[in-house]
Amino acid sequence: MDIFLQLTLSGLSQGAIFALIALSLTVVYRATTIVNFGHGDFVMAGAFFVYVLVIYVELPYVFAAISAVLIMLGMGLGVSRGFIDPIKAGPHIGFAMMSISLGYVLRGGARFLWGREVFPMPRVFDIEPFFIGNLVVTGDVLFISAIVAVFLLIFFFIFYRTTTGVIIQAVYQSERGATLIGVNVRAFHQSMWGVGLAMGALAGILIAPISLLHPDLGATFLIRGFAAMTLGGFGSLGGAVVGGLLLGVAEQLFGFYINSSLQDITAYLIIVAVLVIRPAGLFGRTVTVRV
């Protein structure tokens, strides 16, 4: 029982990061109907910016983190303006091609600058682990869970309880309707790209101190984001969060109780199983996803 709880706890904190990634993918998807296949690499880029700012510029972690989020926010606006807007008249598959390519460019850039080395990030906060009964709560678990929880509270509060949130919901429901109430839909798309990449960067920032950074990190995050979305229901914001948490826990449990080699393919197994058994996921509306 103790080991089960311990695994669940670390699964939840891993899952919190997957939840962020899935949520950030969903934000862009719901606003623009674009599935950002390069998202993992943008997450990786966020993590690398933190690394560079901490190691080379010697910024304190907190400032490095804020800067990385802002850089990725700007990158989101730029990507939308520079690479998505111009191809809007083309076929929808062009968006998928574009996002994959941009991701690979980032990945290639990271490889070029850093080679294929693996980078340890210095510890950020030395929070002493503490015990709840026999359960060990490490500083990392506490730090990640707290940050993600606070972020999610703010996110969902804005979405459901503020005028800005109601406007976002409105644009999600009808773009034509949104233009009829004077919303600049093009600017909206751009800002959702910005928000999506900034949220992805937040995930990267949380990952950076607890894992080894390497340029190919993105692919593993992308697939976990997709698995979380699929499990929660493609396009559902709440579903992305729940899906991410469940995926995190599932990885830990499968890895321990069945076979440790299973941990890495849990995400794929979940995607396959959910699509076969319940394609709309846990909270999914029946939507057709175009890529």
Binding site: T163, V166, I167, Q169, A170, Q173, S174, R176, G177, T179, L180, I181, G182, V183, N184, V185
Partner: protein, 239 residues
């Protein structure tokens, strides 16, 4: 017509979808507090002409001037901010939001300070919406949805209201109700350009009419001068 209080003037407007030219040089204008009905058969370009004014489709040539400002090349959200507000043919409500949220959103961009007063105004026009304020828009009947669509536009305090077939697809009982609302808006001083296929409704409220045919203004005039003789008009539109 006195050009001093001219609100909108459209001149030489051409609009194409791809290679298909839908509007081939149309001209008309509206003065303050005037209600102009746009008539024409299905596919004659009535909605396209409203959408060109709202900036939803681009003009290939011609000029649209609103209160002295050339808005031909302006983005849709900027035209909205000037006070040109459209109620579209498809209504385009936010189906999962409540009636009240739909209405409030009408004033979220342009008229935020006055949102509470305007809501009051809209509920006065549409007491029925007040009763249903917490209901999701998708659960309303077609006529009630049309009321929300008009109410949402009124929230923005329009200087020029573009109505695209307000009676379209509605039961007779609702057509009368919508007709009364349009009349009430007019009595309160609204300037309106109204596409309408229901001629008795159009002629009841409009001061003037224009007829679109093959992408051109084929006819037009003052409703009064028709003296209730509408058969001629029906022929001009459809035959």
């Amino acid at each position: 017509m006195d050009t001093h209080n001219e609100v909108l003037s459209v001149s030489g407007l051409h609009v194409s979808y791809g290679t298909k030219e839908v509007l081939r040089g149309i001209d008309y204008n509206i003065s303050e507090r005037e209600v102009v009905a746009v008539l024409g058969a299905n596919g004659s370009g009535k909605s396209t002409s409203l959408n060109a004014i709202s900036g939803f489709v681009g003009a290939s040539s011609g000029r649209i001037v609103f209160n002295g400002t050339d808005i031909t090349e302006l983005a849709a959200h900027k035209i909205f901010r000037l006070g040109v507000i459209q109620v579209s043919q498809a209504r385009d409500l936010f189906p999962g939001l409540t009636v009240e949220h739909n209405l409030r959103l009408g004033a979220a961009v342009r008229n935020r300070e006055e949102i509470e007063q305007r809501l009051e105004v809209v509920f006065n026009y549409f007491p029925r919406l007040s009763e249903r304020r917490n209901q999701q828009a998708r659960s309303l009947s077609g006529g009630e949805q049309q009321m929300v669509a008009i109410g949402r536009a009124v929230m923005a305090n329009p200087k020029l209201l573009l109505l695209d077939e307000p009676s379209g697809g509605l039961a007779p009982q609702f057509i009368n109700e919508i007709g009364d609302i349009v009349q009430a808006l007019k009595d309160d001083g609204a300037t309106m350009l109204m596409v309408e296929q229901n001629l008795s409704l159009a002629f009841k409220v409009a001061d003037r009419f224009i007829i679109l045919r093959d992408g051109m203004v084929s006819d037009g005039g003052f409703v009064k001068s028709l003296e209730g003789n509408h058969d001629e008009i029906v022929r001009t539109i459809y035959l």
